[in-house]
Symmetry: C3
Subunit: 338 residues, 3 copies
Amino acid sequence: MNSLKEISKILEGKLEGDPDFKIKVVNSLDNAGPDEIAIAVKPEMITEKINAGALVVKENSSIRYKNLIYVEDPYIALSTLISHFLPLERFSHGIGEFVSVAASASIGTDSSIGDHSYIGEKVEIGKNCEIHSGVRIYNNVKIGDNALIYSNVVIREDVVIGNSVVIQPGAVIGSDGFGFARDKTGKPLKIPQRGNVIIGDNCEIGANVCIDRSTLDSTQICDSVKIDNLVQIGHNVKVGESTSISAQSGISGSTEVGKNVIMAGQVGLADHIKVGDGVMIAAKTGISGNVKDKSIVAGIPQQELMSWKRSQVILRNIEKYIERIKILEKKIGETEKK
Amino acid sequence: MNSLKEISKILEGKLEGDPDFKIKVVNSLDNAGPDEIAIAVKPEMITEKINAGALVVKENSSIRYKNLIYVEDPYIALSTLISHFLPLERFSHGIGEFVSVAASASIGTDSSIGDHSYIGEKVEIGKNCEIHSGVRIYNNVKIGDNALIYSNVVIREDVVIGNSVVIQPGAVIGSDGFGFARDKTGKPLKIPQRGNVIIGDNCEIGANVCIDRSTLDSTQICDSVKIDNLVQIGHNVKVGESTSISAQSGISGSTEVGKNVIMAGQVGLADHIKVGDGVMIAAKTGISGNVKDKSIVAGIPQQELMSWKRSQVILRNIEKYIERIKILEKKIGETEKK
Amino acid sequence: MNSLKEISKILEGKLEGDPDFKIKVVNSLDNAGPDEIAIAVKPEMITEKINAGALVVKENSSIRYKNLIYVEDPYIALSTLISHFLPLERFSHGIGEFVSVAASASIGTDSSIGDHSYIGEKVEIGKNCEIHSGVRIYNNVKIGDNALIYSNVVIREDVVIGNSVVIQPGAVIGSDGFGFARDKTGKPLKIPQRGNVIIGDNCEIGANVCIDRSTLDSTQICDSVKIDNLVQIGHNVKVGESTSISAQSGISGSTEVGKNVIMAGQVGLADHIKVGDGVMIAAKTGISGNVKDKSIVAGIPQQELMSWKRSQVILRNIEKYIERIKILEKKIGETEKK
């Protein structure tokens, strides 16, 4: 239980209402009860059904309610409130049951290894890490401090992971890149993949994501990159700082993605191209060539979003335009007869 | 071995042929031998190569054959025959080797836990469940009766699963939703995801599927929903009863999909939209806004299927139409000269 | 350390430079040091920053450098050099810790089973195989010689795998096909999937790939097929010899893909169609019908690549064409007035 005064202080917000009103927990706007606080982003969300004890709103919001906390950014406030009221329980402590840890592996203080996990030779795991159950960490992997690695993640040999990285269940880091020559008879011949993957600090890797190791160098995921579920990152790719990649997107080999790029879902990037900083990519876009900094793109292949939208409007009405061509042809025919 | 009379009774069908003819097993139409039964859907499938002892056909079928069983729905008959002749063997019995089961977990009668599986604190598993090898079930998960959970599935904390649910290998239920605020410097800041996933009765979840937990409420998969491999379900999504989602499709956060929707493969749904009941969605469709009940849609963004098809025919001939514009321009030019 | 003379012999190349020059390892062109060799494909890649001790180039290359080895195919040379200088270390030897192997399973000489793996009844594993940690092999699976199966792979019952097959982490082989009838009330009713998957020799299966078992027959992956990460192969599919399938592509049920097909990323194939031999499919293509041998296709639905490209150029300029229609209409209007 916290008073609104306390919560307002935590959120660096401005309180309007009863400072002594007690809040038990944060909840969603629809489900928050009389002793719960919720975030409200748009005035039209405030209906008669809303039953929360207090609301957090943006500082210039027109929302009126019994207890309000005005904040600069409600989403940051949401993050703060959930961390405060609903902290994540530790999965386990120490070394679990049926664990294989190589003698040459080193595990930092306050780090835990869940049941049935495998830690290979010369693996280095930093302080305060949580490795859950069924995780497979191959030889020579290095992981920084505060890692949170969920069950059944596989991290292959020589991968390097920074501090405070979260990896959701089932992700595979360091699988072989998809590189094949064709032999004289036309059969595919594997090009062995002996590079690695380097992941920076504060990254999040989604469930069942695949990040391929480089052929000889490193596939690079820079600091604060956030990758959603089922994303594919090819070999020798570089993803710049703070870029966000939504579910089921894929980046082909040797492509470089800039900083602060926002990629929506099911996007595909061709190989050996460069996508600039601050680019925004609409869902299902297929990018076949370089993209300049701060572009907003959509389509297969990509074009500037506004131009793509105008084309889409025309395409939806293309039958009418064809009709107009036919009318013109008829009229011209008649004119010619005269 | 069953007589055709017996099989006909099981299928609630009408037999034409030898009631005492013995059948060993069901097989595919191409491979069924003289003591085997197969399903035949179209007359053109019946060639000289067909060697089955008997055929199951639709009640008004024009197929002629030595032994025939007429049924209302041959696909239901196929399901019945495979279940009858080729029942699934139980994976294991009781608690396997190298299993971790928390003392506070409860496991119903006739349920089995496969080798190397992990069952967390306060997990409740119903009766007659099969949990295979390498499954990870986090704390407070509840699973109903008759579950069939294949190897290496991960079910994260607080997930609730109904009765008679099948989960194929490698699926991840309850991974964190992809929710980030941006801090004052523009870096992504995680919004912790503390909701859960609720899965109804008779659902099937495909291999390597990901279903994200909600931020604060529940991601909901209603009764009889069938989800194919590599599908992504975002946080706070609701999927209505008996909806079927084909492989590699993705549903973005907070989107609501109605009942009896049929989604083909590689479909993408934007976030915060509503797709009505009975909607049919063609493969590779990108849905960016609400879709009315019973619509049939295709395209990126979606449009009504028939309109999309007509547009596609025009687009395939667009060069010819452009040629016609050029001819018109030439003619107009000539007319103007006169 | 090898002399250039020795390396040239291994590569069956022609040396231009110092035959006694010693090379320590192969590296990427950008990172190779003075005692390292690299592959150079294009002359424009040779900048002042290149510091390699020697370069491998194509036999008619115009590249000039201190030490050069001319070869027929630089990519084959790369494969040879990496295998020579950077051989893959064996994951483990013998049977690991916490392993479950059924008494009726047979494991060939020099094959190893990694920690926490599960080997079911009557499984047959050939000679010189490496099964890594956390692998789940169900009953009656047969695997040939020289298999390399990475961690957390799941292979379901009755699957047959040839010689020298590589399976990257997290792949699922033999999951149930997505087959449902609808019962009288419209609810989906599972058609049990009791066929299997047959994988030929020299295949590679990517990370988190899913290959569904057939309903009653076999899903077939022929010799030398290479499948990238997160690919979906539906039930009853046949993929022909030496075909290559890039990441996140999907093939729907009962579709047949020919030999030597090259499929780029995020491609989708409808069910029950035939794609001929030697077909090339551009990224994100959606194939809805049969495709003839040696076609090159793109688009949703697919069309011949060149025709698709011409259409794309027109579509990008569609606004201008619409403008030209409007001008024509105005002119015709004026002509008619006269």
